[in-house]
């Protein structure tokens, strides 16, 4: 049984007990514990259940690679599933529950799957659950879904907040072990801006645990000194609890900093996402130990040798009283020595190598530990915890030589460099035969825009597992990073001297024992969380899933929350063996970000609720809000839809606003309207290309309604263009289209007509724009005074600049409602004052603000098109009867050639008409007019569709516009428009101008 040792634990403070709860039980650990070390210290080895077979699971690792010890952490708004106990720092009041079991962790009904496991091999679900067909949706799938998943879903909104940092540095060093510290120091001494991040709460990585010495000091002391030195450098930033999550193109990297996970409720954000641009990225991310594949290697109490050592050295926790060590390399002897020194029993070190180990092995033997050479664990025994191990020859099939009683097994199958960050952006790997590992191929790094590699692997992450090599490689990496950036590395000081025992070579072991038969293979786990066994990978290969990607997807190997950190190499070695090929030929699956899972909260950052996206406000927004407007989102604007008063419905408010406007005076905040200045000697020529109309002939002081088409000829935007002077045009666009129209202009200018002398500027937010609409609009402007608005001197489609009511104003006489109407543009800072002045002056006329819906209805009553309603990216101006706005004199404009294509000139294209329901009702939005019969695919034939449909308060009936086959030639014909439920609404084809056909109101 695991327990807390009386002494030891370099990371815990025994003077500070910490209370926490696990599955409702109140337990005590120490400050500095992880949840896993605290639970082990409390004798709780069983921490969870596996995904498929619901096998009992204890921790197998001590860090980020842990696949088993996942818990539901916290409560309410701070609840989080699938938290790794091994990386969760203990805090006072922590509550955790284990996952994926019913009714309890100890007695889980789902464990019946273990008994049935022979019927549930890899991919069994692809071969069954197929009949009868409806059973999949209603029976099988719901059952599978319920039994899958791990942690519970959060039910409450997140109580924490998150933030983003943008950071620029010369050298980003990921990993705060001795390699990362040394690389950072080399770069820092050369004057580079350095960011060093470490995912845990401690500097130094494994070196202090391994007990080697550097420069004559204990590694721990050396680490303390170098950290002090780094902290003193102004150009170096150090971050703990900050993981290098991903590497992307162009030296972009992600850091994931966990600020308050260990201090819940503390002020400030919980996580911080670092978005980093680095000149060079040094990945000093260390290496991860591999499990050994023997039967029963998933029983709680079987864990990595390095983890058993970590628990003893870092947290003063023994993982068992009698710990059997099984290995194929020297490093695991360190664990045996540590445990022995802690006063625990190590019944034997089972070394798969026939010749045994080196210096460390000799030390172990000297310490009285029995060493079995060329031997294997054929089978771990036990149920919810280890009770013993069957020992056999590694070379054989597993015949028992002896049985050794033990309550834990520390295993080591060698080490795999953490190559994730190297690989994220295309860095390639090479297979190191001697070390039985993939390591970064220095000739094929991820490359930047200049073709040079921008990631440099260092230390163990680069395949240098011995301390001396690690330090040499890290120093070189730091120096290389700065010299590649054009700086001079600091004069090379003496390399720190490592004092570590010589290690004998590793002996690759992919199956233990080598000749294990089916019985053992089907109990040898590769992927602990997803329950993938050696037999599963072999089955995949047998069935032709030979590509490593197929095998992964068929068996789910490496698809668990640890993303195969422990299982991948063992899995592909198993695959290679079964296929009779070499490991490098099988290759790896793709390493994808993030290195370990990162919270969605951190990715979203501060962007939520009101500030989910940037919010754009007009200068008059406060007034709309105070007035209780009902808003609709239009891009990032929020425009008043209508201004309901009293108990009005939206429909009633819209009708009132229209009545008031048509009867007297309405005001519209049109500030969101796009305003783009086009200026320069070539501006007239450019305008002629942008618009279908002839714009170069427009006189200063005049306005013209213009159409803009895409390269494919489709109508994309419209609006009034005012010529400011010979070289300057002001283009009004739709509210939603302003940014894309501006981008469209720039695209043409920058890629096609780069030699034209034209500038564009999007001045949308520089002006407040107000439409003054209705029979009394002229009077209210006269009251403000300053610009002559008389009918004779200020004609329709004129514009003037002047001082109106004391404010510098551009005044346009244009109309989108059919009424006498002006739009005035004033500097944004004056917008609210002018709005108030208009309301004041207009009071006697009952000045009524109106919203977007009234705007839409009034334009529809006049038969004016609306981009996005009458157009949808498939409509050309000719469809809308807008031929008059297409210049016949110009040789070219954007879209002209496209409009000459056969289908564009086809007389069968649907054309714009008005539609009136026979019964006066409102046609449904988007309804289609049916024709006789069905097409070859059995679809009902259609001959037209509704593009806009409203109730017109002015006319007291439904009005609509639509596109209809030969529409303009079919006036008076009645069409059938079925609703979704089949009920038919009939409508007559009429002229699209429903109100004031001759424009008498507008032109007074």
């Amino acid at each position: 049984m695991s327990t807390r040792l009386a002494r030891g634990g370099r990371l815990i403070d025994r003077a500070r007990p910490v209370e926490y709860r696990f599955n409702g039980r109140r337990l005590t650990g120490f400050a500095g514990d992880t949840l896993a070390s605290a639970l082990l210290g409390s004798g709780q080895m069983l921490m969870g259940r596996s995904f498929k077979y619901h096998r009992p699971r204890g921790p197998v690792a001590s860090g980020a690679e842990e696949p088993n010890a996942l818990v539901n952490l916290g409560e309410g708004g701070r609840f989080e599933p699938n938290q790794r106990a091994t990386t969760t720092e203990l805090f006072e009041g922590l509550t955790a529950t284990s996952q994926n079991h019913w009714p309890s962790l100890d007695y889980d009904v789902g464990a019946v799957n273990t008994a049935l496991s022979r019927f549930l091999p890899a991919g069994f679900y692809y071969k069954t659950f197929m009949s009868p067909r409806p059973f999949w949706k209603h029976l099988y799938e719901p059952f599978i879904r319920k039994s899958a998943g791990l942690g519970k879903a959060p039910t409450q909104p997140d109580a924490d907040r998150y933030e983003h940092f943008h950071h620029f540095c010369d050298v980003l060093v990921v990993g705060g072990g001795v390699a990362g510290l040394l690389a950072a120091r080399e770069a820092g001494r050369a004057g580079a801006r350095v960011l060093l991040m470490e995912q845990t709460a401690h500097w130094g990585g494994r070196a202090p645990v391994d007990g080697d010495r550097i420069d004559g000091q204990a590694a721990e002391d050396w680490v303390r000194h170098i950290v002090t030195e780094l902290e003193a450098m102004e150009n170096v930033q150090l971050r703990l609890r900050c993981m290098g999550a991903g590497v992307y193109d162009h030296g972009y990297a992600l850091g994931y900093e966990r600020l308050t996970d260990h201090l819940p409720g503390a002020d400030g954000p919980r996580h911080r996402l670092w978005r980093i641009r680095a000149g060079r990225i040094v990945t000093a991310t260390g290496a991860i130990e591999r499990p050994l594949s023997f039967a029963g290697n998933d029983i709680p109490g079987v864990m990595l040798a390095s983890a058993a050592r970590d628990y003893a050295v870092n947290w003063g926790v023994s993982v068992g009283d009698r710990v059997l060590v099984v290995t194929n390399n020297d490093d695991a002897y360190r664990t045996a020595l540590v445990l022995k020194e802690a006063g625990l029993d190590v019944p034997a070190v089972v070394d798969a190598r026939p010749e045994g180990g080196g210096e460390l092995a000799r030390r172990a033997e000297a310490a009285g530990i029995r060493v079995l050479k060329g031997k294997a664990v054929a089978k771990a025994k036990g149920g919810k915890h280890v009770t013993g191990a069957v020992i056999s020859s590694q070379a054989g099939e597993g015949a028992m030589l002896e049985e050794i009683a033990c309550d834990a097994i520390a295993m080591s199958g060698g080490w795999s460099p953490v190559v994730h960050l190297w690989s994220h952006c295309g860095g390639k790997l090479s297979w190191d035969e001697a070390g039985a590992m993939f390591r970064p191929d220095p000739d094929l790094p991820p490359t930047g825009a200049d073709g040079a590699g921008f990631v440099i692997a260092a230390g163990a992450a680069n395949g240098h597992l011995m301390l001396g090599e690690t330090l040499r490689d890290a120093a070189e990496a730091g120096a290389r990073a700065v010299s590649e950036l054009g700086a001079t590395p600091a004069s090379p000081g003496a390399l720190p001297a490592a004092e570590a025992p010589e290690e004998a070579p590793l002996f690759p072991v992919w199956m233990m024992p080598q000749g294990a038969g089916h019985e053992l293979r089907s109990k040898a786990w590769l992927d602990y969380q997803n329950d993938v066994k050696v037999s599963d990978v072999r089955l995949a290969a047998q069935e032709g899933y030979e590509s490593v990607e197929h095998a992964k997807r068929y068996t789910t190997l490496g698809m668990a929350t640890d993303q195969g950190k422990l299982s991948n190499i063992n899995g592909l070695a198993t695959l290679a063996q079964r296929l009779g090929t070499e490991i490098p030929k099988v290759g790896t699956t793709t390493f994808r970000p993030p290195y370990t899972p990162i919270s969605f909260g951190a990715i979203a950052g501060e962007a939520r609720g009101e500030t989910f996206q940037p919010i754009r406000r007009t200068p008059i927004q406060d007034w709309h809000e105070a007035r209780g407007a009902h808003f609709e989102p239009v891009g990032q604007w929020r425009r008043p839809y209508c201004y309901p008063q009293g108990g009005e419905t939206h429909g009633q408010a819209v009708a009132r606003e229209i009545d008031a406007t048509r009867g007297s005076l309405g005001l519209l905040d049109a500030s969101t309207l796009g305003k783009i200045l086009v200026s320069g000697p070539d501006a007239p020529r450019f305008m002629d290309m942008l618009y279908t109309n002839m714009m170069s002939t427009l006189k200063p002081g005049k306005c013209r309604y213009g159409l803009m088409c895409s390269e494919n000829g489709f109508l994309m935007d419209d609006g009034v263009v005012a010529r400011i002077d010979e070289q300057t045009f002001l283009c009004h666009t739709t509210s939603g289209g302003a940014d894309s129209v501006h981008a469209h202009m720039e695209e043409w200018l920058q890629t096609e007509w780069w030699d034209w002398k034209v500038h564009t500027a999007n001045v949308t937010e520089q002006y407040a724009q107000i439409a003054v609409v209705g029979p009394n609009s002229r009077k209210v402007l006269e009251k403000l005074g300053g610009i002559d608005v008389s009918a004779e001197s200020f004609r329709f489609m004129d514009w003037k600049e002047g001082v109106l009511g004391g404010v510098r104003t551009r005044l346009f006489r244009i109309s989108f409602s059919g009424e006498l109407s002006y739009e005035l543009a004033v500097p944004a800072s004056e917008g609210r004052a002018v709005w108030d002045a208009l309301l004041g002056a207009g009071e006697e006329f009952g000045a009524t603000p109106y919203g977007t819906e009234a705007l839409h209805v009034m334009r529809a009553e006049k038969g004016f098109i609306m981009i996005g309603d009458e157009t949808d990216g498939t409509v050309i101006p000719q469809d809308l009867g807008l031929d008059w706005a297409i210049s016949k004199k110009k040789t070219d404009y954007i879209g002209k050639r496209a409009q000459m294509r056969s289908h564009m000139a086809d007389p069968e294209r649907w054309k714009l008409v008005g539609l009136e329901t026979v019964d006066g009702s409102v046609l449904p939005d988007g309804a289609y007019a049916v024709a006789e019969g069905r097409n070859a695919n059995g679809q009902r034939k259609v001959q037209g569709r509704v593009t806009s449909t409203y109730h017109s308060p002015t006319l007291g009936r439904g009005i609509a516009m639509g596109l209809v086959l030969h529409g303009p030639d079919r006036m008076g014909e009645v069409l059938d428009f079925p609703k979704v439920d089949g009920e038919v609404v009939q409508a007559k084809i009429v002229d699209q101008i429903f109100f004031d056909k001759d424009g008498e109101k507008q032109n007074v």
């Binding site: 995904f51 609840f79 699938n82 022979r118 019927f119 091999p121 679900y125 692809y126 071969k127 197929m130 067909r133 999949w136 949706k137 879904r145 899958a148 879903a153 039910t155 909104p157 997140d158 193109d249 994220h424 089916h518 037999s535 089955l539 047998q542 069935e543 030979e546 590509s547 990607e549 197929h550 068929y554 929350t561 970000p593 899972p597 990162i598 919270s599 969605f600 909260g601 990715i603 979203a604 962007a607 939520r608 009101e610 989910f612 989102p633 494919n712 996005g868 309603d869 498939t874 289908h903 988007g926 289609y928 097409n935 070859a936 059995g938 679809q939 259609v942 569709r945 609703k979 979704v980």
Partner: protein, 414 residues
Amino acid sequence: MKRYSAFAIAREAMRHHEGWERAWASPEPKRKYDVIIIGAGGHGLATAYYLGKNFGITNVAILEKGWLGGGNTGRNTTIIRSNYLQDPSAAIFEKSRSLYETMSQDLNMNVMFSPRGVMMLAQTEHEVRGWKRTAHANALQGVTTEFISPRRVKELCPIMNIDGPRYPVLGALWQPRGGTARHDAVAWGYARACSAMGMHVIQKCEVTGIRSEGGKVRGVTTSRGDIDCDKLGIVVAGNSGHVANMAGFRLPLESVALQALVSEPIKPCMDVVVMANTVHGYMSQSDKGEMVIGGGTDGYNNYTQRGAFHHIEETVRALVETFPMISRLKMLRQWGGIVDVTGDRSPILSKTPLENCFINAGWGTGGFKAIPGSGWGFAELMARGHSTLCDGFELDRFREGRFVDESVAAGVAH
């Protein structure tokens, strides 16, 4: 082909599963086939399958430069729906959806088609009108959809926040028989069925050239030698431009990265597929428990099968706002695939300037859902020279301006 069944599993369990045969054979290429399909993704394999099943053409090779199903078939977010606006689109996607309904039984491989329902949110007035139009169109096209109220949205998907301050949910287009399927199994199922008909699925066989004579296709040059054929189908999403170039013609499409991501697995909390085009994101929960998430394409042309993080950020931001409970879940993995996007966001299923050479390309961000329908129609086109399912998707439409524009309804991605 030995049939898969619960009984077969029980039988094999008694002999340590040593009797399972290969799902598909691994033959050496012959010198000549009646038909060669380049690309063993879902679309290529489905084409081959229906060539055999519907037209009795089985002397077929499907050539794959990597591993079958390794392109977008194995990278997408597995959404299946047919609520398209334009007639040609609705026809082929609905055919496809209906083939998914019976695919497991047809292929004798459980592809886990799960008609859990797909909803596409309306979060602006403009979107409301757009989805209502689609619902009207669908009713006439024989596609069952309806426009549903915010309340119904909330009932179907309780974890959604429908009252967000910026883009409250105003309704949704709901397709109850849309859903998801297990993408890999679709490729494997077709490959197994093709192999059982005697076709050759040849992996690690890269086509490096297309040979022709007198304007007619003769065969292909591959990393494993020259192979002749009477007819050639190019079905290589993500590389269409390259391979078309080998055949001597150009395609009006761009290749861009589309990214996706998954969360860690959690217990079931979402039974429907939700797409939110205004805020750019979509999400469903897999049978394994992961939240499967996608968004818009990257903004630049690219062949790397990875993308820029800011797109992930945009997508996640949208979904945290739409589903606040995911804020404390974690992103497990992100990845990318390369999609070929045409000007009108609709595919090309067409004859080409090279006689007897056909192309199936340009599915953009929505190819997975189309696999069986595309295979059905394209096989007919290759076998008979015409398919009503492919009508409208000819290469010539770009020359004629006869677009099948779905961008109006489909938004950014699907």
